[in-house]
Symmetry: C2
Subunit: 631 residues, 2 copies
């Protein structure tokens, strides 16, 4: 960690995931024995990093399977599956009725210098001019600005640019506030005319990755984008492991500081890429799930994990960014999107805002698929939401050779219907290293369609291929032999892996059905499905339907919006009034705790089949599979 | 300074006032020669502290004349002169139409604990309960509270006390805001029911002394009082010297930190005296002149001293007290009274508020006499104000044996009309050490009535007394011979001293007259004179009229209110709505720069006489003096 090297560390240092294997090449390391490292490997210097203490200067090799490659975070998908994907420009028009009207604005002023006849205070002079020239009344002032005020005015010969924010800096919390109650606050003053250089930063603070964009508040443009892994993954892959870590001594502070460090790196990159000055950034907006939001603000997430799962707060007032350790101007505040519940966070609110589903009549299913899958169902009249603990399979967790979607991950897959030989495509077009979540979906759909596996997820051992064999974990299919892989080991998919993916997709599907049932509706009532999130962007729509992860609806009802967090964050940066809409969206959503719902488990059991125990729920898939079988 | 010893240091370390004499008894000190220390004194170890560098461990004696005695700050005046003095209880009823309704309030709540069916956030639960039980809507929240919120709630078994403030925490600056626009902000949460223990602290930050009072916000009582010298006097006696010092490297920080240190001491004393817990203090309010207000907040006072004399701001939003270094709860904010101009500060606004003159028809002169004398004239329709640079004579500055009003200062004085022998009374009833401002007024009035000095301030050398003699600075009167004094030196009053006092009183008087002229009125129109401030409390009304410092009006028109700063600060602590009145008072006052007024100098010259060149302006005094002369 201290060296800034990313390695996989799913379990947060507990020692049971076995992903942080490293090979000690020089120096002394003291390690407890672990079943994750064989005796032979131990002799060759392999250790679990989290179970080792460094006792001298050491040289350590990070094997490919333990490595996270930051470059692939920002890859784009060239091969587009069915379903609509919209361009960034179109994306911002999914939501209706907004105009370019940023809460942050700059105004250039030429003041009359004081005279013995008019020696009002510097602040009064400035406020009077803002009133006379631009009609601003009742402006409040950030008291920290007063320290530099007299000097900026005089050094600039009374020609200055004021930065103002139209907002509830002391936010109305927990209550929806009518439009029009905003106030103007003066937050910065710069010498000369800087009105043409005015920026804000939006952030998507995800459990795995952090994304940032630099916005031009004059031109309504995204000037630069940057991303990085959330360094908290070193303390645990998923939000639960992070909450556990936060309860250790100093844990919360470490988690907070590590993600702030990464955001500072992203800010530096954004500024450098766009070639702008940091001091011209006036505001930051972040969207993240409830746990990420608690952690960046240094709020203790302890009770998010203990039943009945209560956040500290859903609406959090903007915080001075420098107080969090963010390296920006002292006047910059960080606004975090409000959350709905412990496991339905600001990222979802932001995406629902950006997709405009709260403004339209059609019944929409909005989903963000992942370890913690989030589901929203509703329209302009009502919305219900739930979080769905799908487990880590979509991110390669619990899969024997599972890995994140980075270089070497097996991403696309075809199988020869006669020889049952595989055709593999990896991210970065290199030797295969493992299987990422979207690859796993493709593979299992392909196996199902080809009859390599049965609808209950078991391998058909009657097929004429040696690739299906018995391994240490039961039946498995050899995707690539040792000589063909980056790890030098056979790359296999096991029945246990298939089972884990089925559990994950069943949890998501049971979530949709249970939420719909809670409002007296069913899958067939859905008029639109909006898929948000990085994982969603990379899945093949038809194959995801084939395995029963997505409902069997006409393909043109599906819409991919990509990063919904950034979408909503951009919208509220560009349009003051959208902030109200964001909070209205948050208040509209009724959270349903699936774990408390008696029907959820039934729906889950029914979905533990490919695509589903009730074929009628997947008429298209069922018909196709029946037709293939008939051949 | 580092040892916490108070010594006089009027010039702020420049070396020209000569008041910081110390006597080195042991150790090595390197000092530049100075005309303030004679060769003989130098040989005996006398040095100016500010001109010396310590080169080894040393033992230093502080001579009585250099010593400031903190105990006498809080003395009360037993011998009351003419004019009305009101009791503390009556004081608070000078202003009309206020009721006990503090902006700070505590509410005890018993919350329903969260359940799986009701797992809203901790903050939402709290806000909902405040709404249901007490009708508070649209509450904003101090984001720092969120860090402890979940723990306080659970440790207290959901039985808690919320501290709320009804205020514009993000204050409306520079504009008068109508009543009723306040919002409620949640600033603290305590376990259990603490509603019965709720306090605030009010401060008068004076150039020379700092006063604090602890208020009970339940019982409308002042529980304790404490005071100390403003330690900034070590960096200069008057505000101008302090501004000069603030421009040295690190000077502003030292000035800010030193007064904060003293306030912290006062807070500790208040808490200890009243036997309450510091955590139960929810708010602080301070009134001070514009320079003191800038310094406590760390705002640079540079341009207060340079023409055209502009403050950074007159209205300053409340600041989190801990950010200033004040040792109170993190939720406590410091509100500083707004100022009118560079030399008419929040102390005057506070006093004018407390005296209620802005509510009544009678034309009132409100004065605070001192080095920087402040004058307000007006009534419920209008007010004009001016600052008047009277010089340091009222505080013993520029007077050969002048000193502050501490132990040993000659305070009262009678002269035998036959022998011209003096009768002296000192503060603390000890051997005389010097002459304080009020003693000086008494002495000169007495001399004038007895014919020892003429109306132009010169000694009558024809009198049969050896006490009038020629000294190194011209003619002088020996008040006490070396054997009778604490200093072991003859204690004298010189013609130069008399001249300095005449200049000071002439500046004040010219101020009243010039201000009155600016609105087309004269002294005879005054229906009331309100005298505020520590110095004012100790002057003898009739003698102050005799020398022409106060106008020659019927004695029952004079009202002494004492510390006006604390009076107004108490009022706004006890009554939320008085905060609006304070800001209205501030906006009502029109500041007149006397230095820019062509008539001021004429009025000043006319007043350089005892009582005045125009005897008709002082009919009572003139008649009395004429009658005595006739005898």
């Amino acid at each position: 960690m201290a060296a800034g090297v990313y390695i996989q560390a799913s379990c947060g240092g507990e020692g049971f995931c076995g992903k942080c294997r490293v090979q000690v090449e020089k120096g002394e390391v003291e390690s407890a024995p672990t079943p994750k490292i064989s005796e032979e490997e131990f002799a060759r210097g392999f250790r679990l990093a989290c179970q080792s203490r460094v006792r001298s200067d050491v040289e350590v090799r990070i094997p490919v399977e333990s490595h996270l490659d930051r470059r692939v975070i920002a890859r784009t998908r060239e091969r587009v599956s069915a379903g609509r994907r919209v361009s960034p420009q179109e994306l911002e028009s999914l939501v209706l009725g907004w105009c370019f009207n940023p809460a942050l604005r700059k105004q250039y002023l030429e003041l009359e210098p004081p005279t013995p006849k008019d020696n009002r205070s510097d602040l009064s002079r400035l406020l009077l001019s803002l009133k006379k020239k631009f009609g601003f009344e009742g402006i409040s002032v950030d008291s920290r600005l007063l320290h530099k005020l007299p000097f900026v005015l005089r050094e600039a010969d009374w020609k200055v640019t004021a930065t103002l924010v139209q907002t509830r800096m002391e936010s109305q919390l927990g209550e929806y506030q009518l439009r029009g109650s905003r106030r103007t606050k003066l937050i910065d003053l710069e010498p000369g005319d800087t009105t043409q250089t005015h920026y804000s930063i939006v952030l998507d603070i995800g459990t795995t990755t952090v994304w940032g964009q630099l916005l031009d508040l004059n031109k309504r443009q995204t000037l630069a984008e940057s991303s990085d892994y959330n360094p908290q993954i070193q303390y645990g892959d998923d939000v639960i492991t992070r909450i556990v870590y936060s309860q250790k001594a100093g844990g919360l502070k470490k988690l907070q500081e590590s993600v702030v460090g990464t955001i500072n790196g992203i800010i530096r990159e954004l500024i450098a890429r766009a070639g702008v000055e940091l001091s011209r950034v006036s505001h930051m907006t972040a969207a993240g799930n409830t746990i990420m939001t608690h952690l960046i603000l240094g709020l203790d997430p302890k009770y998010l994990r203990e039943s009945p799962y209560t956040p500290v707060a859903n609406y959090i007032p903007p915080v001075r960014a420098t107080e969090l350790g963010l390296e920006v101007g002292e006047h910059v505040h960080l606004y975090t999107f409000p959350s709905v519940a412990s496991y339905v966070g600001g990222d979802i609110v932001s995406g629902v805002l950006g997709s405009g589903i709260y403004q339209r009549k059609p019944l929409t299913l909005y989903i963000d698929i992942g370890t913690n899958g989030e589901i929203v169902i509703g329209n302009s009249d009502w919305m219900v939401t739930a979080a769905c603990s799908a487990g880590p399979a979509f991110e390669g967790g619990g899969i024997k050779h599972g890995m994140r979607a980075t270089t070497g991950a097996l991403e696309d897959f075809r199988i020869d219907p006669v020889s049952y030989e595989p055709m593999l495509l990896t991210i970065g077009m290199v030797k295969p290293k493992g299987i990422c979540g979207s690859g796993l979906i493709n593979m299992i759909a392909e196996f199902l369609e080809a009859g390599v596996i049965t609808p209950n997820g078991k391998f058909n051992t009657d097929l004429p291929t040696r690739r299906i064999r018995s391994g240490p974990d039961g039946k498995e299919y050899v995707l690539a032999y040792a000589g063909e892989t980056a790890t030098g080991m056979d790359l296999v998919l096991t029945e246990v892996d298939i089972d884990n993916l089925m559990r994950a997709k069943a949890a998501m599907y049971a979530g949709y059905v249970t939420l719909l049932q809670s409002v007296g509706l069913s899958i067939s009532n859905l008029e639109q499905v909006v898929i948000a999130g990085a994982f969603g962007s990379f899945i093949d729509l038809e194959r995801a339907i084939t395995i029963g992860l997505l409902p069997d609806l006409p393909l043109d009802r599906f819409l991919f919006i990509g990063n919904g967090s950034l979408l909503g964050a951009r919208l509220i940066s560009f349009c003051n009034e959208m902030l109200d809409d964001g909070e209205r969206v948050c208040k509209m959503m009724t959270n349903i705790e699936l774990s408390e719902n008696p029907h959820f488990m039934d729906n889950y059991m029914a979905a533990l089949f490919l695509p589903h125990t009730n074929g009628a729920e997947f008429p298209g898939v069922s018909a196709r599979l029946a037709a293939k079988k008939a051949i």
